[in-house]
Subunit: 226 residues, 2 copies
Amino acid sequence: MRISELSRSSAVPVPTIKFYLREGLLPPGRATGRNQAQYGPAHLRRLRLIRAFTTISRLDLSTVREILGVLEDDTLPVPELYEQVARVLLGREPEPDAAAQPATGSTVDDMAAQPASGSTVDDLVDQLGWQVGPDAPSRERLGQALGVLRQLGGACDSDFLLAYAEAADRLAVQDLDLLPHRDAGADAERTDRAAAVVRSVMLGVAFTAMRHLAYTHHAALRYRHG
Amino acid sequence: MRISELSRSSAVPVPTIKFYLREGLLPPGRATGRNQAQYGPAHLRRLRLIRAFTTISRLDLSTVREILGVLEDDTLPVPELYEQVARVLLGREPEPDAAAQPATGSTVDDMAAQPASGSTVDDLVDQLGWQVGPDAPSRERLGQALGVLRQLGGACDSDFLLAYAEAADRLAVQDLDLLPHRDAGADAERTDRAAAVVRSVMLGVAFTAMRHLAYTHHAALRYRHG
């Protein structure tokens, strides 16, 4: 199809498609004449992927580029695929406004510098029986968040947090159950890797939105009709 | 305390504190001489809040400014507080890289333009019995995410999504149980509002990190030892 048709099928304006082409996020089409190129279903899929990441997950283009890079590595086993995507999502630099602040050597570690913040992460990981490396990027972020929760007071005890971790565990299992069985062979595994990553990212967005709806509903039940 | 002590207590460098003061994110201290000011515990709390939002939630400063503005409105009932914070978090502009793309009239709506994407949101909301307005910001984002999930194939059926929504519901209730009872009076309700918002934001970060850990663990169980 031509770029105009690609635009209609994807609902992405032609100038935006040209921008992605210039930026190398979208591979060039097959040249069919001067200033003309043909695009295929792979372009449409890639375009939808980029739009899902930018407009729904609100990821910046350099993060999207990194995720696409991870997805393109066909040799990556599924566990490393998830870990690398987590690393990209969690390891992205602070937002530009924050980056415009005077440089400091410890922006990310400040709140994590609470004593014993690491031990609660270890406790949770132990309670769930998760086997994850000590340098998994999510460990550090979890420790930072738990450090702030601890500063807020003793209300978020370990049972409270365990309920979150158990939900995360159950939902991850349910999600992985959608993937082809490992005996299905490397081909099936490869085909579905992009879908699996997009699914996990979109489910993260969906869950965040569901949480907001649940807060709104239950807060109204409790406080509005006093 | 002087700014140097505020810096030590918060682990935020003095130049960064001065930057927040210039930007109005941190209220000025009490002037005690030329070029000298005293800061109190409220400054320390506010500083920790700003750092939690910027370094752990990775929010940009304009989003942090908006959230602080919402928190400062003492007259806002708790349900509106959560809804307005959700609106700030979900409604924030696309990342700067994305904003640098050629302007389009429909950046956010592209993926949501799937037929029937709204009805599944309505189905979920009905199943959970959530009473939320038709223009709640999370509804639109949820519809967009569900639209992409539907494009990926039929695997994410309504039972699948219901498990996510029920977890969101249960965790929100557990979280709201930490708030003072509505009969505790307006004062108690006001005092805890900042803590409640920070808690919900940090629990969101923690849950995302937990999901990543769970994916890493369970994907390794399934695929690594073939």
